[in-house]
Symmetry: D2
Subunit: 287 residues, 4 copies
């Protein structure tokens, strides 16, 4: 299959945008293979994801962004991102001590489910190095002092590594550390976390214990982009599972693991496929 | 809110269709409020649902179909349907003896959930007349002989009623009779049935008993358009519910009722909203 | 089918309780048709639901509670309730202006799904009187002043009515008034509410709007017993439905209606079947 | 935690069985930590799972089965199995070329989710040897000729291996070969398969393609015990996921993988926990 260009954009809604953009692609011999659009009638905003084949497209790939900027972005107050399917994103995985999400991510990667590269795994503990070695992926450990006295220093080293590895987004696979604002602002809407509750219920620590205490009949997991506000970033995906009075905090942890794996991997899939647009602390998820 | 026009179309996929159609609407001062499209890359078919406001649209509503036919339909080998939001569909409900789906449909109707009119309820039994009377809707009964000797005659009378009442589609709300090909061909893809199994599992009679015998752990319900092929028409909506070894055929029937109601009502909602396109015995369901 | 006795009990866990209680029933010629038990190993509490046929049982029904009290309750520090299947509970429904839950409850009642009696519907508005009349159930209205100045008086009148009607439990079918502590304490763990969110997320007013604002991907509904603590009583049942960025607060309200109906009716079913035990602000729900 | 004994039994239902068995355990100083029972009122059969602590139990573990046989089994026409929690089952995994289920099983095993031992992985292809090596588990390959001419011989070798490894049950993790009756009868109700459809829909080959052709709106996966009847053995667990018209056979395969993993692992969990009783081609799954 030919390489494709993927355009994600949003701007205030006006008549004729779809028509104009699709005509632009078509006139330049681009074959549109996917178009998904959405109008937020409350904020009067227009959102679109457009994917077309590069084969035979009259504009050179390195010029496309420029042309869109010149022709449309300013006129329509448009914010846009442009990606190419043959330039896969580079994903770093951050872990602490729990293996389930890491195994799930790496098994998918190894099976070729995703168009992605994983140059490194980062941790604050040695515990999961053996998994990185099983999959032959470099594993970097910086332990963080209990008093967090070296946290700034550690994050600086991590940032350097991420840049060196040309990492484009980060997956926190049950990484049990707060991410600093500096790292967040280096990867805006590019750090995916999995929180083990149905947000906004049970924000913060030990959500399964909170769920047990409250006596809920369903537990959930939530994947979201990290923002400066703890557990309050744009939600990408959620799912739930039924529980009963027979469940203990321990069995909730076990059931939750399966949720966490699937919810995190669905979010990562959408991110890799460039199907997520964030706006006003929410996500638009294209099909 | 202003009245809208809704265009549902499909045709072989070629470059530029979206661009051309949306420009046509825009150039004639139609404000597009919803566009959903889908390309079937296996059959190379293009499907679109387009909704725009009629206020200020330059083409008179009675001319629109003509213009689309002339400008696009032939050129693109396009099949299309055009609807107007201020001309709600007229729905007939067929029932036998079970009340749950009928109550659910009428409660939604009375609460104003749907842009629809219900001119009549048709049955082969007197049992549910009291519900029709509760809701002040005409109730017509034609009983069908056990040997079906009068079936053709009954269906003829029913068809006459449907025409007189200008019925546009029929909902079989647990109507326990086979619909004849004649009635089906009078309402192609406009008769919605609810089958009480997860089709294609347990086709035919007593699906809950079949499910019990097989020992499945989940039961389902399926709403579909009726075609000449029993339980094999295009599926509109399905849903399931978990069961256990503790369930009996009787408890399955009870659990199934709730499924049937919700699955049927979701299908009816999509039909009323003109969000279903049928193609090759499948449905495209727009958002 | 013969009438049955249903025993719901809990007590500190000790060896031999099941054995002793079941022997007691068996020795007195009671045929046990259902036994479900559960041990909370954290609190070391034992919970049991036992149902047996009264036909041929050697102890007269009016003596059974006494005998259990004497033989077991004190010895085991046991709390228990005894019900008879031929003495159906009497349910009052409180409503305000929304019809969907009321229709759903009454349709089930009329279809004979439940072993229950509904002697009255209570409201603070006239709006739904027509439904009560459709189903021939007495409808009582006490409007509550905006400043709530007559609320105490109204609740007094309601309590009188409930007593006169020998109401055993109350269902708040989207009743938009806070229930006072006095009424709650007259019906402890016998007032079932439906809250239109996945508690404990979005406590309080306008949960669908809160859910929209937060950008969640799933919404829920929760049925629970009313306690003095707003939206914090023991949860009976919850369910959820997936939503997308395309949903508006209005479409959430519509999708939520279907959830509210099913979640409320499941809770009412369990309550009528005497399958709920409350303990420490949680529910044990037997199969 | 102390070791436990687990008793799974079924027999024709008579009064007093629960009482008698629990008294037997209690009288011999066994502390019952879990009891789950179920009466099939259609077949009049009684089913029970009983778990008690062996610490302080007066009967030596090697005598327990004998005593139960003598005291109860004959009298009540009882079929029973007895297990000890400190004698974990030994599980062989059979695979072909797809890695997702194998990774999921091994990741759970390595994370200590299960009380199980995995002495070997068996395959008809070399493809997944690298995973076995990642996890340090012996991997045995017998390739089967296209004409199946060596199949009997291969199964003989496999059976020998299974005996030598003292394998107690087999998991077919997308193993693409029909299991012969001989192997099935060596492991009755101890071979767990994952079928990639919602059985009994889409029995046989390429179920995702069948599902695509039929246009269903939900796909499923089913784990079941293998019997001589293809895809017709007792169902242990099923689950489903929603699909849309946008899905292709390829995307169904991808979505299905996640279902297969979770459905297979839930079945394996229940089997390891000795919570499954089979009867009349159905399973009773205890909580």
């Amino acid at each position: 299959m030919s390489s494709t260009a993927i355009l994600l954009l949003h701007c205030p809604d006006t008549q004729g945008i779809i028509s104009e953009i699709t005509r632009f692609i078509t006139d330049n011999h681009g074959n549109i293979i996917d178009l998904d659009q959405y109008v937020d009638h409350i904020d009067n905003m227009f959102f679109m994801r457009l994917e077309w084949q590069l084969d035979g497209f009259l504009i050179a790939r390195e010029k496309i962004a420029d042309v869109i900027e010149t022709l449309y972005a300013q006129r329509y107050q448009m914010t846009f991102d442009l990606y190419f399917s043959d330039e896969p994103p580079r994903m770093a995985i951050f872990v602490s001590k729990m293996s389930h999400c890491l195994y799930d991510l790496l098994a998918r990667y190894r099976a070729g489910e995703w168009n992605v590269e994983i140059p490194c795994i980062v941790s604050n503990h040695e515990d999961l190095r053996f998994i990185a070695e099983q999959f032959d992926i470099p594993y970097y450990v910086w332990s963080i002092n209990k008093d967090h006295s070296n946290k700034a220093e550690v994050e600086k080293a991590e940032l350097e590594l991420l840049r060196e590895m040309r990492v484009s987004f980060i997956v926190l696979a049950r990484y049990m550390q707060i991410i600093s604002d500096e790292l967040i602002s280096a990867y805006p809407h590019n750090i995916i976390n999995i929180h083990h509750s149905f947000l906004p219920a049970f924000i913060g620590a030990k959500p399964y214990h909170q769920a047990f205490e409250r006596g809920v009949k369903i537990i959930g997991a939530t994947s979201h982009y990290i923002t400066a506000d703890l557990d309050a970033g744009p939600i990408i995906e959620q799912d739930v599972v039924r529980i009963t009075h027979r469940d203990t905090p321990e069995s909730l942890v076990l059931k939750g693991r399966d949720l966490e794996k699937i919810v995190l991997s669905r979010a990562v899939t959408k991110h890799i496929e460039r199907k997520i647009l964030t706006y006003h602390n929410k996500t638009i998820i294209f099909n």
